[in-house]
Symmetry: C3
Subunit: 214 residues, 3 copies
């Protein structure tokens, strides 16, 4: 049951992140192969990093071919359905938020199932959630979204990973509660984007600079 | 025998990729130490990623000191023999193509020898082949070559990994057939560069943009 | 005893690198969460890469929560104490030098304790020392410091890793000699910065170009 929960949510999360990667590939002028590669990298990267850190054998993304389906689907959807450039940046953010929301839950769950302690599971869940997006942005040669000071990115992921740890420790984690946790994270992230919620800057006394990305 | 094949082709592949890294270091104005580091990173990076994913103990690049010889040779060759800047970009591409061709064969073979299924071995072979170059370009702060839509990069690697899986499953893989597979990939890559063969763009309806790199 | 030495020096090294990451985050205009993430990435990244390559189970940075203390401290120190932008670039270099000095000793020691041969331990010590800084600079979208040809970066780390291997093989490695080795590396690095010591360029016959970073 727990495994099914992980696999179902995980594949949906891979799809969301893969769409964000394929959309970015389109915006950057990459070709269909680049779209598939960048989508795979962001969709599967966070989970691969998680599995490598957990050190429990080859990552599921490589041993289980079903993980290749979401990136293929994503590249196809973007190829056939994306019409104009104007809404793409916003779509990247929306699908990225979906991946973030699902991966902070599944990443934490996978770490807990492997026997990691609560703090390690929390940190690893956040790593899974933000890892793929960092890979995507670094590869596309721009400053990762997680560092944009105009809104909140990692804090919703921390929140979702924390909820997952709590639910798991009380035995309340199942497909429904896990999905609710992910939806809460997704909504938090979209609200942060919409209303420009932001955290204090890294140095207290500095003026908020104009943040630019590649 | 299989192991010897892997080691021989692997070391030649490391040398080719390492030359591409040291040449890029020269073009970027790095020093001799940076040339050795960037050459090592691209030459050994793909294999280290492969071995970490296969989870079969410390990567060969670290446990077997012979793997350090090709990057040292490459840095030396570039230091003494590279005369002018004009042909370096083309040389980077040629040596990169050699590394790509050999690594898609050896990466796939290593994965098959470790017991991975055919699809996983194919994906891991391509990862090995393109991984080092992505590390090189990301580190040198430019968009990885694999995303350049003007020619084909990953498709020849997919092709080579596929041939290797087929040869291996029929028991026909040896030093000769493996080398032939690598040569075919190398020639495909050079033809794609020469004649600007390219794949469709990531979004069907968009115009082909001007692709720029760092 | 050896383990205590490793942990003590390791945590101080994590703190130094984390401060360099949080300072860079401040200079780049990231927020407090970005400061914590970038500090964690540079502070813990080198050790995580080392532990993944050694393949000895989940990295200590994830299983032992004490490793999260230095990045939290570093983000706090930078938040409250950094006043103006003018001296930050120099502070990044100084703290980076401290992390480099300590990690080339602890990285080598950890590899030797795990049974790696002398050459592998040397290479892995240097990888640990330069890995975090490469992650930091690549993530912040600039060419890694290790490739700056105006001074020496990797050579002091090679030197420190070499001394550590020698001390260990003669049974002379302890808290005092290890600290002395790190101090020597730190001083070498600062002298190289101050007096612009540099290595030959990657290609012998080229003029030294103007090196620019992001």
């Amino acid at each position: 049951m727990t495994i099914d929960l992980a696999l179902v949510i995980d594949l949906v999360g891979v799809f969301f992140f893969a769409v964000s990667g394929s959309l970015l590939a389109a915006r950057k002028g990459f070709d269909l192969v680049g779209s598939l590669l960048l989508g795979s990298m962001v969709g599967l990267g966070g989970g691969v990093i998680r599995d490598i850190i957990l050190n429990v054998g080859p990552p599921a993304a490589f041993t289980n071919p079903v993980y290749l389906v979401p990136p293929l689907l994503a590249a196809g959807v973007v190829y056939f359905l994306v019409g104009g450039v104007e809404r793409v940046s916003r779509l990247v953010l929306a699908f990225d938020a979906g991946g973030l929301a699902l991966f902070c839950v599944t990443g934490t769950l996978k770490a807990l199932d492997t026997g990691m302690n609560a703090i390690a599971a929390l940190v690893l869940g956040v790593t899974t959630a933000v890892g793929g997006g960092i890979l995507r942005d670094v590869t596309a040669n721009r400053v990762p979204r997680v560092f944009d000071p105009q809104d909140l990115y990692a804090i919703p992921a921390f929140f979702g990973a924390g909820i997952t740890v709590l639910l798991w420790h009380h035995g309340w984690l199942n497909l429904i509660t896990g999905t609710i946790a992910a939806v809460v994270v997704f909504v938090l992230r979209l609200l942060a984007l919409r209303f420009h919620w932001h955290a204090p800057l890294a140095a207290r006394s500095w003026a908020r600079p104009r943040f630019t990305r590649g």
